[in-house]
């Protein structure tokens, strides 16, 4: 038998397996974002938006759409990707992955690819739901998709790392709850950071999430809190950091092998 340089059947098997896992809970996967998005529009769009008609010349209802999508992409990416790799570790089925002729790159490609696919799908569902409530016009569709995909991949990588690092289910919850949720809410998902007092605005600039949301919002409206180039740069830095961490995990076998 010839040695295989890229185990495409292996990648495909994992990718399909992971997507099948999502599809088993399809109804839940689709209904949850639709309901959540609708609630956000009722609360933020209608109740608050009534008082706050425009931000940066954009109607408030439309203004929150990119932030809302990003918020869900962060959460879903982390939870799906971390679960995807943590579950086999937890049940012991990871032995098969470790004993298979798949490289670290192929494993990450398959798991992160599947989780990112779901995140992007979810983002599109939210976008569709939102467009029922407010008219949405996307100024830079190409960049919109690019930001979406990059962010989904980045956070799926991040989730993958958490899934490997976590020793139990509590630890799986800690990072999203203690770090990602606050950073997102403080990252300008529902307001422009220009609306903050100057001191807080400076603090905010250390929050990586600000760049992701700002960049994504730019693709919709052409205006943003931070320069779009900086946003893109930060997104890439974040992505590369996660990639480097994943590479290190596999090189050392950290929390994967004895």
């Amino acid at each position: 038998m010839r040695a295989i340089a890229f185990n495409r059947h292996g990648v495909w098997a994992i990718y399909r397996f992971e997507l099948a896992r999502f599809l088993r809970t399809l109804l839940q996967s689709v209904l949850t974002p639709v309901i959540t998005t609708s609630l956000y529009f009722v609360v933020f769009g209608a109740a608050i938006g009534a008082r706050m008609t425009e931000v940066d010349g954009v109607p408030y209802g439309a203004f929150i759409v990119p932030g809302l999508i990003m918020l869900s992409v962060f959460m879903e990416s982390i939870s799906n990707a971390s679960f995807g790799i943590h579950f086999p570790k937890f049940t012991g089925t990871i032995f098969e992955l470790l004993s298979a002729p798949v490289s670290a790159f192929e494993i990450v490609l398959a798991y992160v690819g599947a989780a990112a696919t779901k995140s992007v799908g979810l983002a599109l569902i939210i976008l569709a739901t939102a467009s029922v409530f407010v008219p949405i016009h996307i100024l830079h569709p190409f960049w919109m998709v690019a930001f979406l995909v990059l962010t989904a991949i980045t956070f799926c990588l991040f989730g993958f790392i958490i899934g490997i690092w976590a020793r139990n289910w509590e630890q799986m919850q800690i990072v999203p709850m203690l770090i990602v949720t606050p950073l997102t809410f403080l990252g300008g998902a529902f307001y422009s950071i220009d609306m903050l007092p100057p001191a807080w605005r400076t603090v905010t600039l250390f929050n990586p999430v600000v760049y992701l949301i700002s960049g994504f919002r730019w693709t919709f409206f052409g205006s943003a809190d931070v320069d779009v180039g900086t946003s893109l740069g930060m997104t890439l830095v974040f992505l590369l950091t996660c990639l480097a961490l994943v590479a290190m995990i596999f090189r050392t076998g950290y929390r994967l092998k004895n």
């Binding site: 040695a3 295989i4 059947h9 032995f95 098969e96 992955l97 002729p101 490289s103 004895n258």
Partner: protein
């Protein structure tokens, strides 16, 4: 015969400081059934896990069909199927899907016909669309075997495949193992049922406290370390062994009603005819007699306890 697995200088020390393997050297021959025996915690699973890529060795090398398991892991691993000791399968998947998954994972193009034949071989075909969670323990064990075989491996590891398996399934399983061997698959198995190893294996390796203490052809091992006993059921019980029988290793058992003669199976002259002649000269009458050969189990227990005694 060609070595399909070559292990040299293999050691493993876990992070806990446990020396699970100490300088293990072993060659597995192509096409054989090799039984790895050893008490709990001896290091059997550790050895298998290293060869399969689940555990990293502390030092030493392993070649699988000439491919290093670290530098050439793709070639090495694609040749191996592993049925682990623990029953772990994706609870929510169907039987057929999980077998197909394993096949793909090991780099093989889908082949529903082959997967079907594996499932039929293991009497799982009727349950192919069932969720694994709903299967009994014995069926789950078979699913694990189906997964391991789904990518047509040339080497199959069975880590205690018959633990918790009923008699019938156990027999089916051994029939399957024989069929696989006949088709050229090399099989390495561990078991605590030594009669199984005695029946199935071509060669036996005994591991104790991380050291491989014996590797031998099964028949030679049993001949070399085995003893034979001749038991004579006496007509009239005796208080002691009569004089004139000093040339034989005799013992008086069962309250003096049984005379037991232990002899080495390797010796040309067992001394039995002479003993019987002598007994009749002495007027010792017996109503029955039988000979018995020590089982692999006795040999195994002796080996391991000898080793332990020597350690302490």
């Amino acid at each position: 015969m060609r070595a399909i697995i070559s292990i040299s200088g293999l050691t493993k020390t876990y992070a806990s400081g446990q020396h699970a393997l100490k300088n293990v050297n072993l060659e597995i021959r192509e096409g054989e059934i090799f039984a790895l025996l050893g008490p709990n915690g001896a290091g059997k699973t550790t050895l298998i896990s290293i060869i399969c890529g689940i555990v990293t060795a502390s030092s030493g090398t392993v070649l699988v069909d000439g491919h290093d398991i670290v530098t050439d892991y793709r070639a090495a691993r694609s040749r191996i199927g592993l049925v682990p000791q623990e029953l772990v399968a994706d609870a929510f998947e169907t039987v057929r899907a999980t077998a197909g998954f394993s096949r793909g994972l090991f780099g093989r193009a889908p082949n529903p016909g082959y997967v079907e034949s594996v499932l039929r071989d293991l009497s799982l075909w009727d349950r192919r669309n069932d969720i694994i969670m709903t299967l009994s323990g014995g069926m789950k064990r078979r699913v694990m075997i189906a997964k391991a075989l789904s990518h047509e491996p040339r080497i199959l590891f069975l880590d205690e495949p018959t633990a918790g398996v009923d008699v019938e399934l156990r027999r089916d399983m051994w029939a399957l193992v024989r069929r696989l061997r006949d088709s050229g698959v090399t099989i390495i198995l561990t078991t605590h049922y030594i009669d199984e190893a005695e029946e199935m294996a071509d060669r036996i390796g005994v591991i104790s406290q991380g050291e491989l203490i014996v590797v031998e052809d099964k028949i030679r091992l049993m001949r070399k370390l085995g003893k034979k006993q001749l038991t004579l059921h006496l007509q009239d019980p005796m208080a002691s062994i009569p004089a004139g029988l000093e040339a034989w290793k005799l013992a008086l058992n069962a309250g003096g009603s049984e005379l037991e003669y232990t002899f080495d199976t390797n010796e040309e002259q067992t001394g039995i005819p002479a003993l019987l002649r002598r007994l009749s000269e002495l007027g010792v009458a017996f109503k029955d007699l039988h000979t018995r050969q020590s089982s692999l189990e006795e040999i195994f227990v002796n080996l391991v306890s000898e080793r332990k005694g020597f350690r302490q």
